[in-house]
Amino acid sequence: MNDSIVWLTIFVLSVFVGIEVVSKVSSTLHTPLMSGANAIHGVILIGAILVTGSTDSGIAVAVGLVAIVLAAVNMVGGFVVTDRMLQMFGKARPIASKPASDATGPSGDAA
């Protein structure tokens, strides 16, 4: 099989997978999902590392290093900030049951 066709196949299948996996997202999670997807494209860091490591030109190395810094900011910062957002979603739950200890609280409905 032609090499380009292989690449095209991967591309087209990835498009379908990308659409499929997020198609059922609730609007509550739009912001964290955008932020998480944003972090994933930070893997351009790999590209930046590859080009920087395989060039001899001084200017290209300098530009490559800038690209590495930017890509690392994108990737690391993106995942950390998404985690911070999602951490809050998780934390909200145990607190919800706290008032139940001193009164009927939210669980009073069930009684």
Binding site: I10, S23, G36, N38, A39, I49, A67, V73, G90, P106
Partner: protein
């Protein structure tokens, strides 16, 4: 040749990214999904050092360290209210990185122009241009959200001509760069990309900016995919394409949550000011009251619905609000939070902000779930929100927010607006509900007023 085990590691990372996006789509699995994505990204970054013999190893590691520190510090320090602009910034630097990578690659490939397939140069040129568009566009959205520049659409007379001119010039230069690969058309193309990116985003109104961030996010994804093709790296291709496709769908979902079409968001302002608002405070008479009066209205209600907005979080009043709701709860009053899909500055932003204040997740009711309840509510308390309850979305076809679904706050017996001033909301248009006879305004800084309101309710 890339070692087989490295390629298999990339495949594993690509699968992890798919699972990460899948996990991020559901509240229960979101955090684990994100962590899986992070682990895959870190793993792939380690593996890349085994893909080829790399020079400048220590410089590369130092640059990664610098970027990591900057990213972590930025992500840890940011206020949750400012999070949309941070995402814009991260997206922009990613696009910029992709453009720089492609520029270097263009220079490296130039001597081999005879043997390198034309399509490789097409992908390189695409990455340079779209990466630059994404970078410049993201920086403008950052400036808008940070209010470094006006949040209202920026339009000047020659803008459509300048945009069109820059775009056509970019295509011409791109053709030159593909036909006779050299560095200079690449650099010129990057500059034109910056111009096109800036001109694309400047005319977008403040309320629509989050959707543009999502669109630029998808753009960056596609540049990373094209970069993957150029560099013969399947992981970049798959990850970039996933983000491009998912980001495009997400942009569509967000736009439809706001009742807007993408074309209208991007080019509406150019077509005759349809996203322009008046942006000025009105001096029509309104009814205002003090915290004491409002406390009585709340304390003797049976059902209260809270409509939180971005102003609440800016004033850091969400903790006092949660306390107020707890006090009302103890008095046996039914209280819910009505969450508009675009409350805050991004879809889902308000959920993040309230979660930070430890508001129980199950008290947050989405718009479709609560809109029919407003007519049974005695009091609706609108805190720092405006556009999401503005009836102009239903009644005024020319309004910038026309067509956006709104919370039916006007159906309640009484509406209380907690506002700092009569300044209009983010969309810059007047809210007719403020002048309704059943509306009471409680002026003041949300945090300060919320504190007074809380002690007044406790004293009753």
């Amino acid at each position: 040749m890339i070692p087989t085990w490295v390629q298999l590691a990339y495949l594993a990372a690509a699968v992890c990214f798919i699972l990460a996006l899948k996990g991020l789509s559901s509240p229960r699995t979101a955090r684990r999904g994100n962590q899986l994505g992070a682990a895959a990204a870190v793993g792939a970054t380690v593996v890349v050092f085994f893909e080829a013999d790399l020079d400048h190893l220590w410089l590369i590691i130092a640059a990664i360290a610098v970027g990591t520190v900057l990213g972590v510090v930025g992500a840890q320090r940011v206020q949750m209210t400012q999070m949309p602009q941070l995402v814009a910034l991260f997206n922009g630097v990613g696009g910029g990185a992709a453009a720089l990578v492609a520029l270097i690659e263009l220079e490296e490939l130039t001597p081999f122009a005879d043997v390198v397939p034309t399509f490789t140069f097409v992908a390189t040129v695409f990455t340079i241009f779209v990466g630059a568009v994404s970078f410049a566009g993201s920086m403008i959205t950052f400036a808008k959200l940070q209010e470094l520049i006006t949040t209202r659409p920026v339009i000047f007379p020659g803008l459509p001509v300048a945009f069109g001119g820059a775009f056509v010039a970019a295509i011409a230069i791109a053709v030159v760069a593909v036909v006779s690969p050299q560095l200079w058309p690449g650099v010129l193309l990057a500059v034109l990309g910056l111009v096109v990116g800036a001109l694309l985003v400047l005319p977008v109104g403040g309320a629509d900016v989050p959707i543009v961030i999502s669109l630029l996010n998808a753009f960056t994804g596609l540049t990373v995919a094209a970069g993957g093709y150029v560099l013969d790296n399947t992981l970049l291709l798959v990850a970039g394409t996933l983000v491009g496709a998912a980001g495009t769908l997400l942009t569509k979902l967000m736009a439809s949550a706001m009742g807007r079409s993408l074309v209208n968001i991007l080019f509406g302002a150019l077509r005759g000011g349809s996203t322009l608002g008046a942006g000025e405070a009105s001096d029509r008479p309104v009814r205002s009251a003090g915290p004491q009066d409002v406390a009585i209205m709340l304390a003797y209600a049976h059902k209260v619905i809270i409509v939180p907005g971005y102003g609440l979080a800016v004033a850091q009043a969400q903790h006092s609000l949660r306390e107020l709701v707890e006090v009302l709860d103890e008095r046996g009053i039914e209280v819910d939070y009505a969450i508009h899909p675009v409350a805050g500055r991004m879809p889902g932003h308000m959920n993040v902000l309230l979660a930070e204040a430890q508001v129980p997740y199950e008290k947050l009711v989405e718009m479709d779930g609560i809109n029919s309840d407003f007519k049974h509510a005695d009091v609706v308390l609108v805190v720092g929100a405006n556009d999401v309850v503005n009836p102009a979305a239903k009644t005024t076809p020319g309004a910038p927010i026309y067509g956006m679904p709104i919370l039916n706050a006007g159906d309640a017996q009484q509406v209380i607006f907690m506002k700092r001033s009569m300044r209009p909301g983010f969309a810059g248009i007047e809210n007719e509900l403020l002048f309704d006879p059943k509306t009471t305004l409680l002026f003041g800084d949300a945090k300060d007023t919320m504190g007074k309101l809380l002690s007044a309710v406790k004293a009753l």
